[in-house]
């Protein structure tokens, strides 16, 4: 211990005084010897020489004493670091370029990896989250269909694969009696849900089996956030009631921590209880899915077949139209991130390419620097530096600068990550949890180390081949700098160009898809159009008549406002997605086979909807005031559905749609009109068949009121809210925004990904260009004499350009060719995100190639220009 302490002390500063003391001591030792020799009668000179001889090698005494003061390995490392730092400071431009290049590469990778970690890799925050399974039903057409109550009960009671099972679904309810009526989000769950998600109460209790029973009193468990914000953290809240959709619910508990299971955060949880129909009929679907905890020894496939056995048994004992339904079971982790893995793999792949580019640039810079430093290395070898020590020093230098780059990169990624989370689409689960946590930092460190070692390797290997005698004779920038080095540098440039082409191509494909989606004709006029989304509280608006009356009065009230051109309402506006779909068939056409019954989207529209939206009518009429509850049921179909069965829209009129298909009960509707397609599933989705019911024949309490305004739609937002409040202040506004926003939101994820890839491609082009420039510039420098001689022999500017240009062109063409091949390969990865073009769109490919060509040309321009400016007289004089 004492030794260590004194060694550290020595290393830290006592060194100098120790050294001078040793000198003094050796001096006095020598004096003793000289004195002795003088006594024996030698002349002073003789005495001194004999003493020196007797004393021995003073350098060796000194060195070996020094060694006892220090940690030799550590000391030489410190020395290497000292050299490295000096090297960095002495070449600020080189260092800055290297550090920035690496920082961008490592930073981008760290930021993207942290999102990948948060979204895909991080374990779910539930106990045994990796065994949680998401359950639904499936048939030949669809998977993940909701589970019916009776099927769920049988699954729950008879399975042998799960430790527990809970049903869950979302619902929105109106909270009244606490200030302004507010729309609140509820999670409906059966009692085991809390156990499966590892939730605990902070106050009161959670649900028990008793709460699941239909006749039990209405209870509610609130989240801590809702308790704090809406219930003002009332410590006596347990036992009090809150009014949801007009009926009182007793608060039985407050959750200590919301499990965060529902992707859209919920305010409170209600017991999930079946309706009368659901507990009577096995095919009465709600929107319930189930969550279950797999037993440790059971595989997912075994669990699926277990649940299917139960369904098959039920099909015998309780036959019905859904006897072909099977269980859909998927691990919650996979269910959550379905489709995202590919997107993130694509992002990760592109940042990887960026990092490889950064590495290539760094390695080629190091190689170039190595050749200019070859002399320094040779001299060091000559004065006795061991090869291991030299290589060690080179590796230390490279690692040191890489780590600075890595550190700057982590700082960059911190900023980048905040932007990513800020701009990222809300639909990606857990994206907002991305942070620079320990696993991410470990990733960054390992990445940095790998980059450093890789980049250190290339020059270090060439250092091993340094032949002392050759290098000392050769001029440092002479033509002899080895062929191998040139080949490696050329290879780096080629791969840089190729990677730039690949990234340009993929981002180009996505940008073009985005552009097509942005400019796609939505089938209606979305300008100056305001959307008011409402859901009437079911307590107050029980009957169809009351609902219709409310919407009629609201529309009339809105039409009376100045600045309002027209008003109409629809259940499911464009880009809102699938608000309901069902099987159908056409009565006048041959019945489809049992497995081939087609699906259509269902929607409800009132008479003025198509007019207000300016959705063109291809044939027939829109719903009218005469379509009432008692009148013959009619429907307006969309162009897509008409196209599937008839040669033109007009032929569809008067024909009949049978809902539910030929094998299920359902109403028959007469087709009275055909409307143009609207992008129901979002702007970047192909149209699907759709049926519009008159809103008066199929009544829905949740409608979106479309208001065509004369001026800016925002200017009327206040008026609209006031008109609504004057009718009924207890009806909450779900949303009120221009239709353009509604449509644009569907492209948010696409925009986000296209933007990221475009940024990466931009960085890649920049890196590749600097890489090309560096190598070509070096090529010209190292051939300065050769070029000068050619010029002196009479070669003109054109000849020089041709010669230098040939070198650039060779690398460029090879890079482009490899880039093309890589692009075709990469197009498989983006194919799921392509819209409106093919995944290997030739236009984009040509554009990418053109950009890459431009990049190579601009990178080559300066070196070529430099080559023509070489003065033969000066250059040859120097030599």
């Amino acid at each position: 211990m004492g030794t260590w302490r004194s060694k550290i002390g020595n290393a830290l500063g006592r060194r100098r005084s120790l050294a001078s003391e040793l000198e003094e001591e050796m001096d006095s030792h020598l004096q003793f010897l000289i004195d002795e020799n003088l006594e024996q009668g030698m002349t002073p000179d003789q005495a001194r020489n004999a003493a020196l001889r007797e004393f021995g090698n003073t350098t060796s005494v000194r060195e070996r004493s020094y060694e006892s003061w220090q940690f030799p390995k550590f000391e030489s490392l410190l020395q290497d670091l000292h050299y490295a730092l000096r090297g960095i400071v002495r070449k600020p431009a080189f260092s800055l370029i290297v550090i920035l290049t690496l920082a961008v590469g490592i930073g981008a990778n760290t930021a993207i990896f942290s999102t990948v970690y948060a979204v895909l890799l991080k374990p779910l925050p539930f106990p045994s989250g990796e065994r949680l399974v998401w359950l639904g039903e499936s048939n030949a057409k669809a998977t993940g269909i909701s589970v019916t109550w009776i099927n769920f009960e049988h699954w729950q009671g008879e399975n042998r694969s799960f430790e527990g099972m809970a049903g869950f679904q979302n619902v929105d309810l109106t909270l009244t009696g606490r200030g302004q009526a507010a729309l609140t989000h509820a999670g409906l769950v059966t009692n085991l849900f809390f156990q499966l998600t590892g939730s605990r109460p902070m106050l009161g209790r959670l649900f028990t089996a008793h709460d699941d029973e239909p006749q039990s009193p209405a209870t509610v468990v609130v989240t801590e956030r809702f308790w704090a914000r809406t219930l003002s953290s009332d410590p006596e809240i347990v036992g009090k009631t809150i009014t949801l959709n007009g009926s009182a619910h007793e608060v039985v508990g407050v959750l200590a921590r919301d499990p965060g299971f529902f992707l859209r955060p919920v305010d409170y949880y209600l017991p999930l209880r079946p309706t009368a129909a659901q507990s009577a009929k096995r095919d009465a679907h709600g929107s319930m899915r189930a969550l279950a905890l797999l037993k440790p020894s059971v595989t997912l496939a075994q669990a699926r077949s277990d649940l299917n056995t139960i369904l098959k048994r039920l099909a015998k004992s309780d036959p019905g139209p859904e006897d072909d339904h099977r269980a859909y079971a998927e691990f919650l982790v996979n269910e959550r991130t379905e489709g995202l893995a590919r997107i993130f793999a694509m992002l990760m792949g592109s940042v990887c390419l960026v990092l490889i580019l950064a590495c290539a640039n760094f390695a080629s810079l190091l190689l170039i620097r190595m050749t200019t430093r070859a002399r320094e290395m040779a001299i060091r070898t000559a004065i006795g530096a061991g090869r291991a020590r030299l290589v060690g020093q080179l590796v230390t230098e490279t690692l040191f600068i890489t780590f600075i780059g890595g550190a700057v990169g982590v700082m960059l990624s911190f900023i980048g990550l905040r932007l990513l989370v800020e701009l990222g689409p809300r639909g990606i689960p857990r994206l907002f949890e991305a942070s620079l946590n320990l696993p991410v930092l470990v990733f960054a460190a390992v990445l940095t180390l790998a980059v450093g070692l890789f980049c250190a390797l290339a020059p270090a290997f060439s250092a091993r081949n340094l032949s002392l005698s050759i290098l000392l004779k050769e001029s440092s920038t002479g033509s002899g700098s080895n062929r191998v080095g040139h080949a490696i540098r050329g290879g780096l440039v080629v791969s840089e160009i190729a990677m730039a082409v690949v990234l340009l191509f993929t981002s180009g494909i996505l940008l073009r898809s985005l552009w097509i989606a942005e400019t796609v004709n939505p089938g209606f006029d979305s300008g100056r159009l305001l959307a008011l989304e409402l859901q009437l509280p079911s307590g107050r608006y029980k009957s169809d008549a009351a609902i219709l009356d409310f919407y009629n009065r609201l529309e009339a009230g809105l039409r009376a406002q100045p600045g309002v051109e027209s008003v109409g309402a629809v259940n499911c506006p464009p880009a809102a997605g699938d608000c309901g779909d069902w099987w159908y068939s056409v009565v006048e056409k041959p019945a489809p086979a049992r497995d081939d019954v087609p699906l259509t989207l269902l929607n409800m529209a009132d008479p003025k909807y198509f007019h207000t939206m300016r959705i063109p009518l291809m044939a027939g009429r829109t719903p009218s005031g005469d379509d009432r509850a008692g009148s013959p049921p009619v429907a307006v179909i969309n162009e897509e559905l008409a196209k599937a069965w008839w040669k033109d829209a007009r032929s569809a009129l008067g024909q009949h749609i049978k809902l539910g298909g030929p094998y299920m009960k359902g109403p028959v509707l007469e087709i009275v009109g055909v409307a143009a397609n609207v992008p129901q599933m979002g702007l970047d989705n192909a149209p699907l068949p759709e049926i519009y019911f008159p809103a008066s024949q199929r009544v829905s309490s949740s409608m979106v009121v479309a208001i065509r305004t004369q001026g800016s739609p925002w200017a009327l937002a206040g008026t609209v809210a006031k008109t609504l409040a004057s009718l009924d202040s207890d009806v909450p506004i779900q949303s009120l925004k221009p239709f353009d926003d509604w449509l644009g939101a569907t492209l948010k994820q696409r925009r986000f990904i296209a933007l990221l890839l475009a940024i990466f491609a931009g960085i890649a082009v920049l890196l590749a260009a600097t890489g090309c420039y560096g190598v070509l510039n070096y090529w010209v420098s190292s051939r300065k004499q050769e070029i000068a001689i050619r010029m002196a022999m009479g070669a003109g500017t054109i000849a020089i350009i041709r010669r230098t240009g040939k070198q650039a062109a060779k690398l460029g063409v090879l890079g482009l060719a490899i880039g093309f091949a890589g692009s075709l390969f990469a197009s498989r990865w983006v194919s799921s995100m392509v819209f409106g073009i093919t995944a290997h769109d030739p236009v984009v490919l040509c554009l990418a190639a053109f950009c890459a060509l431009l990049m190579v040309l601009s990178a080559a321009a300066v070196p070529i220009w430099r080559a023509t400016r070489i003065s033969p007289i000066e250059t040859l004089h120097e030599a």
């Binding site: 004492g2 003094e24 006095s28 030792h29 004096q31 003793f32 021995g56 090698n57 060796s60």
Partner: protein, 118 residues
């Protein structure tokens, strides 16, 4: 690294690893001494059998200093020269006792084994 000067003299005994430190401690037990004095002492006491190379002596002194077994002090020698005198510390005394008994046991054991059978 090694030069001609460093080559061991065949006629003299090479010191075993770790012995030099003990010998220095033994020397300083008699009286404080300087490096030159120590080397003289070792040569005389071993009847010039031991080769004490300064390249080994100085580092050995440094190691002893680091272990705090000896301490150094600049003094004026009887013949008027300034020299660094080393003396034993308490720890050094204990170490010498320990090492002496160890070396004695070692020597006895070696002698037993190497003794001619008889």
């Amino acid at each position: 690294m090694s030069t001609v000067d460093d080559l061991p003299d065949d006629k003299k005994l090479e010191l075993l690893q770790g012995t030099l430190e003990v010998l220095i401690l033994r020397c300083l037990k008699l009286q404080p001494n300087h490096a030159y004095g120590i080397s003289q002492f070792l040569q005389q006491e071993s009847d010039s059998e031991f080769l004490v190379d300064n390249g080994s002596l100085y580092p050995a002194i440094q190691r002893l200093l680091q272990r705090k077994w000896i301490q150094g002090q600049w003094k004026i020698s009887p013949n008027g020269r300034r020299a660094r005198y080393y003396s034993l510390t308490g720890g050094g005394r204990k170490e010498l006792l320990r090492a002496t008994s160890k070396w004695q046991r070692f020597a006895v054991a070696m002698a037993k084994i190497l003794a001619p059978e008889g």
